[in-house]
Amino acid sequence: MDIFLQILFSGLAVGSMYAVGAIALSLLWGTMGMLNLAHTTFIALGGYVAYFCMSVLNASWFFVLPLAFLSGLVMGYIYYHLVIRHIYANQNFSVNIIIASVAIAALGENAFLNLAGGEALRQPFQFTSGLKIIGVVLPYQTIFTFIMVIILMIIMALIMSKSKLGQVIRAVSQNPDAAKLMGINVQKSFAQAMMLYGSIAAITGVLVTGASQVYPSVGGDATVKALIILIVAGLGNLRAGILMAFALGFLEMGVNYLFGSRYGFPSMLGFVIIVLLFKPNGFFGKEVVNRV
């Protein structure tokens, strides 16, 4: 029973982490077809904003999430106007943006290195204690992250399905030319999508670093895991991505506990490869039906 709870709780912790990293990435990749490897920069940004707010300014924890939201929003706007806009105007956007976003990720990492130094800082926006259930501790941080995953997922789903912004983002992603013919300013809506992305990515950065520490390359791992999860779940399907994040979290932690910690990640990758062999569009990926 102990081991079962251990696996359950740590799987929940890791799964929440994976899920939280995937939410914002899914918005860009699933809708705009943009694989943003500079996701790592936004995660680090969230972490450093939390650190700066509480440890440098000694401000209340209350300001952390709003501040992360704002800084991500601004960063998304700058990123759009400095980089994305120019690449989007040319052909081959979906490939070229991968290279450009790697460059931005490197630039971001070095910027943080110069501004804050290389050492890992304790990010104070976190819960330290936990809930004890039959001798096994379920950290409050895990519960908090889990709840945030659900909240962010609901907010994203509502924005995408109910708001005009969500409709426009979906329209532009499905057919940019048709969107222009509806009177939609495609550039403006892409900029708005980037601001939405940035704000959510920075908030997830606060959560990711809360469970570890904050350092310039802190978002790298979360970004890679989020990529894997979104591909194996089926691109553009956020709910499936979240489910898959927890499934993989449980798998990894289960293997870790039962067979030793060096087998966890490889077995997760093995599972991913097997899924993709049989379902190349992802586990929950729809086979696209086209009527011609």
């Binding site: 979906r170 329209a171 222009k180 013919l181 009177g183 300013n185 009527r291």
Partner: protein
């Protein structure tokens, strides 16, 4: 003197380095229906794209109601009331019929007005009402065309450009589509209709232009066109 809705002066454009349209000039008067016919691959769709702003103008001018629009991006031309009803491939495939229609009214912020227009479109196309919750990639070709026209109607624009409304449709459906096009004039009186051959245009167009190899080589009324059937057959290969 009648007002000019659209004036094209020496329009030249193309893709990359390939020139497709050469020195096109034409005028569409307010309240008239102008048809453009021509064989496939001779610049009809390019002209539509140049007018709606999906491709840039290389040389020449385009005026809408005497205001130059050739430097405006596509979405601003829509704001000025120039609406394009594209071929069936320019729908939003993973949205429902109703979501597609609502995007046609993207520039309308009055919700009640939007609702009224939606009802009007459903009044014309009962088929779309039946399928309002259906994802549009599963619609048939005829239904897509209806959706495309319905979506264009939502904007109640000043002038509409219809890009080959009969393309790929069964004759019976084409009849229906053209009945609807004839009715469009009540909402948007000025129409520019592009088709491969003139059969369907003869009943509704006031003037027909023949576009061949990127140039207008003939224009006249439908009855004049009938008198020149031989010429037409040569160009269209009928």
């Amino acid at each position: 003197m009648p007002t000019e809705s659209l004036r094209i002066e020496n329009l030249t454009t193309g893709y990359g380095r390939r020139k497709v349209l050469k020195n096109l000039s034409m005028v569409v008067e307010e309240g008239s229906v102008v048809g453009i016919i021509g064989p496939n691959g001779h610049g009809k769709s390019t002209l539509v794209k140049a007018l709606s702003g999906l491709i840039d103008t290389w040389e020449g001018r385009i005026f809408l109601k005497n205001t130059s629009i050739d430097n405006l991006p596509a979405h601003e031309r829509v704001e000025k009331g120039l609406i394009q009803i594209p071929q069936g491939d320019l729908i939003f495939p993973d949205m429902t019929v109703e979501e597609n229609l609502m995007l046609g009214g993207y520039l309308i912020f009055d919700k009640e007005e939007l609702g009224r227009r939606l009802e009007k479109v459903y009044g014309i196309f009962s088929r779309l009402l039946e399928r309002r919750k259906q994802i549009t990639r599963t619609l048939s070709g005829g239904e897509r065309r209806m959706l495309s026209i319905g979506r264009g109607l939502m904007s109640e624009g000043y002038m509409m450009i219809l890009d080959e409304p009969s393309l790929g449709l069964a004759p019976k459906i084409i009849d229906q589509v053209y009945e609807i096009i004839a009715g469009l004039r009540q909402i948007s009186p000025t129409l520019l209709v592009i088709e491969e051959n003139p059969t369907r245009l003869q009943n509704i167009a006031d003037i027909i232009y023949l576009l061949d190899d990127g140039e207008f080589i003939w224009s006249g009324t439908p009855s004049e066109l009938k008198e020149n059937e031989d010429m037409l057959n040569t160009y269209l290969g009928i």
